[in-house]
């Protein structure tokens, strides 16, 4: 998989899900409903399903979310603490007027906790219309991996292990991470 080259991403700009890179090759005359869109995906790459991921670092360890879950990356400005919430909720961040809860990802994964929040980045994800930010030390990048190469695991918040050239990447399950209410 030498095609899975690292794509650098501007950390201050938004990271947008762009769909599969070879999607426009065969044009369909069918209206692009959700249903026939996914069908057309299946037709195109039956032997080689790819997954785009966005990776980041907590300390020296590399983690990733599916690119579709990610919305944007922001500098961790001052967060506003909210009382009577779980410890791993560091506070809320106003993202263009919308209040987004920000999670201390290390604490959530029981990997310690963030010291000074100000030096990190906030990776904003969305599940439906629900947005949640994750504090990370630094961003990795957006890359494409073959679905077949992902080792499915069911271990708490980790849903897959990816053997990348640079080392092991832990693919996280956003839905489980934000399920604490």
């Amino acid at each position: 998989m030498d095609a899975a080259a690292k794509v650098s991403v501007s950390v201050s700009g938004p990271v947008r899900a762009s769909g599969l890179s070879d999607a426009p090759k065969r044009q369909s005359t069918v209206a692009p409903t959700v249903d026939n869109y996914s069908k057309s995906l299946e037709r195109q790459a039956p032997e080689e399903k790819k997954l785009q991921i966005v990776s980041f670092f907590l300390g020296e360890r590399e983690y990733a979310f599916e690119l579709l879950d990610a919305v944007e990356v922001l500098r961790a400005r001052t967060l506003t603490e909210v009382p009577r919430t779980p410890d791993f909720i560091k506070g809320i961040l106003s993202v263009r007027g919308e209040m987004v809860p920000v999670m201390d990802t290390k604490m959530r994964l029981s990997e310690g906790q963030f010291g000074n929040v100000r030096f990190g980045r906030v990776l904003v994800t969305s599940v439906g219309d629900l947005k949640v930010g994750f504090l990370v030390d630094r961003m990795g990048g957006v890359r494409e991996v073959a679905v077949a190469s992902i080792e499915q695991v069911d271990d708490g918040f980790v849903k897959g292990l990816i053997n990348a050239p640079g080392g092991l990447i832990l693919l996280l399950d956003v839905v489980r991470l934000i399920d604490f209410a």
């Binding site: 909210v82 209040m99 809860p101 209410a181």
Partner: protein, 675 residues
């Protein structure tokens, strides 16, 4: 009904419009009702009601609401006969019209889902019967040449004017061809101030340059007065058609119906909508407000930038320029925000008007005599809030009618007038509107309230006994409280007053009750003018800033040091015991100093009050409140607000804090009774 989607936007708009039309129709009918009693029927009002019925008929046919179309059609027929003078408006006729009107209201309320066909048949036959009571009075002799060109309605108005002893003049006016419309409107408006414009007839004198009109007017004044009114213009002359009263001029006699002459204005282009208003979904206005508040944040970034530029010697000129531009932007933004808020404002009179019909109906059904008066109808409130007020006011008025106003006989025995009076009043007080419902009934007996609340198992006996008078009165807001043993049509189901409490709390409003045995009761509702923008008091507690909605703040007191270890004290303010809470303790935060000192903010919601203790008061600000994420549900926190460079602060939720405090207090009281 197959092709009309009753859930569609169009259909909802139709219902909303039908409601509006019924609202104005109701007002018109009330005026007619008063007119029947006084013996003066205002043709303008009759016409307006007729037009409402006509519009309703057309609309409901388009949307295929058959019940409504049939009923409004027969209503229209009857009203048409009335306005043409073929039948006389008597109490019976008015009753059948009123009943049809109530049924139309019911149909609209059912959103077109109910089946009213049987009721409609009854109403149709009642209206039909009324229509048979034709008026066969002899008609006065008028110039047949004139009569032949008048429509039936115009002829009727002409005869009515003569019957009232008015003088009939033909005002012949000429206008330049190219702008005759403006001139014509100006002249008729002028004439209408002193006379009724019966008909406008194009005159045969019309040539290429001028258009001539003969305007038939009826007035109590003489020819001289009319000339004076027109101002002796050469383009206008006045001819006498009939002068039944050669009495000397008596202009002021017109005063009696002065108020009601105005509505005649549309009778020529009667069925066209003349309204130039746009109906807007309030959600769209909310979106605009959101964008404005985001612009405010952008603006504060510019402020920071201009400050930075000014402090750099090389760029300070640009910094100053930028600062000036930014000030300008700020002013325009605030103008923009004010105009959007202004668009949301409606007069509370349109809400008050709805209760007149309710009070009339209740007094008819209950055999009590109740009159309603209103004050401050032109007070303006956010449209959403006006709608939210409708239910609470209705429940209060029904309760007054059922429980407070005594039967006429009893009232006479007490030396009160036979009829009870309910007064609805509104006035603005800062950023609030105070709505008061006052009655001159029996007042509320707090002893009765206490015993009923205990009897119904709503509170423990010891608890009820220990309450102060004001707190005891507030028991009426408990769910399930009702002092009536029989369930009546209008209230007494024990749902009334807790609906009031709930709706007013939702608006962050405050309820006060002021009652005097035998003299009456006053319910005082203090409601924020708008919910779109919140006026907030920024406070600091244990090093963190919070915003507290000013809507809920009643007063602020300085407090002495109170140790946190002790149970928080109750303050007695204006004879009321008010429980207090230390904000950081409530939020579960550690304080560096163990004692609360600084300020006590007395906040209220509906009937409850609480004193929130904080360290410092910072400032007052207008903020736009944003909800916290669905993931974070924190009691006592309503949301957060982005204040630009000042950062994001949490907005406190007085409801949450009150609930918590009162639950603690009540469980404490419950504990006492079991020991």
């Amino acid at each position: 009904m197959a092709d009309i989607d009753t859930g569609s936007e169009r259909y909802r708009e139709f219902l909303a419009e039908a409601e509006d039309i019924l609202g104005s129709m109701g007002k018109g009918l009330l005026k007619l009702g008063k007119g029947v009693k006084a013996g003066i029927i205002d043709p303008g009002v009759l016409n307006a009601v007729f037009r409402s019925a006509h519009t309703l008929k057309g609309m409901s046919a388009i949307f295929d609401v058959k019940d409504m179309a049939t009923l409004s059609h027969s209503l229209e027929d009857t009203l048409d006969l009335l306005r043409l003078g073929r039948i006389t408006l008597t109490d019976t006729v008015l009753d059948s019209i009123m009943n049809a009107f109530y049924l139309l209201q019911k149909i609209v309320a059912s959103k077109g889902h109910g089946d009213f066909s049987r009721e409609i048949e009854d109403h149709k036959s009642a209206l039909g019967k009324a229509a048979h009571a034709r008026d066969n009075r002899p008609k006065e002799q008028i110039d047949a040449g004139i009569i032949s060109v008048l429509t039936e309605y115009e002829e009727h108005r002409l005869r009515e004017n003569l019957k009232e002893g008015k003088n009939i003049y033909i005002v012949t006016a000429r206008f330049f061809m190219n702008n005759f419309d403006k001139g014509y409107v100006a002249l008729t408006e002028l004439l209408k101030t002193r006379s009724e414009v019966i008909a406008t007839l194009p005159s045969s004198k019309t040539n290429n340059e001028f258009l001539f009109f003969d305007i038939l007017t009826g007035t109590k004044g003489g020819k001289g007065q009319m000339l004076e009114l027109i101002g002796g213009s050469a383009d206008v002359e006045i001819k006498v058609l009939a002068e039944p009263s050669s009495r000397v001029e008596q202009g002021p006699a017109l005063e009696v119906v002065k108020d009601s002459v105005r509505p005649v204005q549309h009778h020529r282009d009667s069925l066209r909508r003349t309204s130039d208003t746009v109906r807007v979904n309030i959600g769209k206005l909310d979106n605009i407000l959101n964008v404005i508040s985001e612009l405010g944040i952008v603006k504060s970034n510019i402020t920071a930038l201009s400050a930075a530029l000014r402090s750099e010697a090389a760029h300070s000129v640009y910094g100053l320029e930028l600062a000036r531009a930014e000030k300008h932007l700020e002013r325009k933004l605030s103008d923009l925000r004010d105009s959007v808020l202004d668009v949301r404002m409606v007069q509370i009179g349109q809400l008050f008007g709805r209760f007149e019909t309710l009070v009339n109906r209740i007094s008819r059904e209950s055999g009590k005599e109740i009159r309603m008066t209103t004050l401050g109808d032109d007070t303006e409130l956010d449209k959403l809030i006006v709608e939210e007020l409708a239910d609470p006011l209705m429940h209060i008025i029904r309760n007054i009618a059922d429980h407070a106003i005594e039967p006429p006989g009893v009232r006479e025995g007490l030396g009160k007038p036979r009829h009870g009076t309910v007064t609805l009043s509104a006035h603005q007080k800062g950023n609030h509107v105070v709505v008061e419902v006052t009655d001159d009934g029996a007042g509320i007996d707090d002893a009765l309230i206490r015993s009923k609340a205990v009897e119904k198992g709503l509170v423990a006996a010891d608890y009820a006994k220990a309450l102060g008078v004001q707190e005891a009165l507030e028991l009426i807001f408990l769910p399930g409280f009702s002092t009536r043993t029989t369930v009546s049509e209008t209230s007494g189901r024990g749902v009334g007053m807790d609906v009031v409490r709930e709706n007013i709390s939702r608006l962050s409003g405050i309820i006060d009750i002021d009652t005097e045995r035998g003299r009456g009761t006053r319910f005082i509702l203090t409601i924020p003018i708008t919910l779109a923008i919140l006026q907030a008091l920024i406070i600091e507690e244990a090093g963190t800033r919070y915003a507290l909605p000013l809507n809920s703040v009643i007063e602020i007191v300085e407090i002495e040091r109170v140790s946190e270890v002790l149970i928080e004290p109750e303050f007695t303010i204006n004879g009321r015991n008010i429980p207090s809470v230390c904000l950081s303790r409530f939020l579960g935060k550690q304080r560096s100093a163990p004692d609360c000192a600084g300020y006590g903010i007395v906040a209220g919601l509906a009937e409850h009050r609480v004193c929130i203790m904080v360290d410092r008061l910072i400032e007052e600000l207008d903020v736009v409140i944003k909800p916290l994420s669905r993931l974070l549900k924190v009691p006592g926190i309503a949301g957060a607000t982005d204040m630009g460079e000042k950062g994001t602060v949490l907005v406190l939720d007085v409801t949450g804090i009150l609930d918590h405090v009162y639950r603690e207090k009540k469980s404490g009281a419950g504990f006492k009774t079991t020991v």
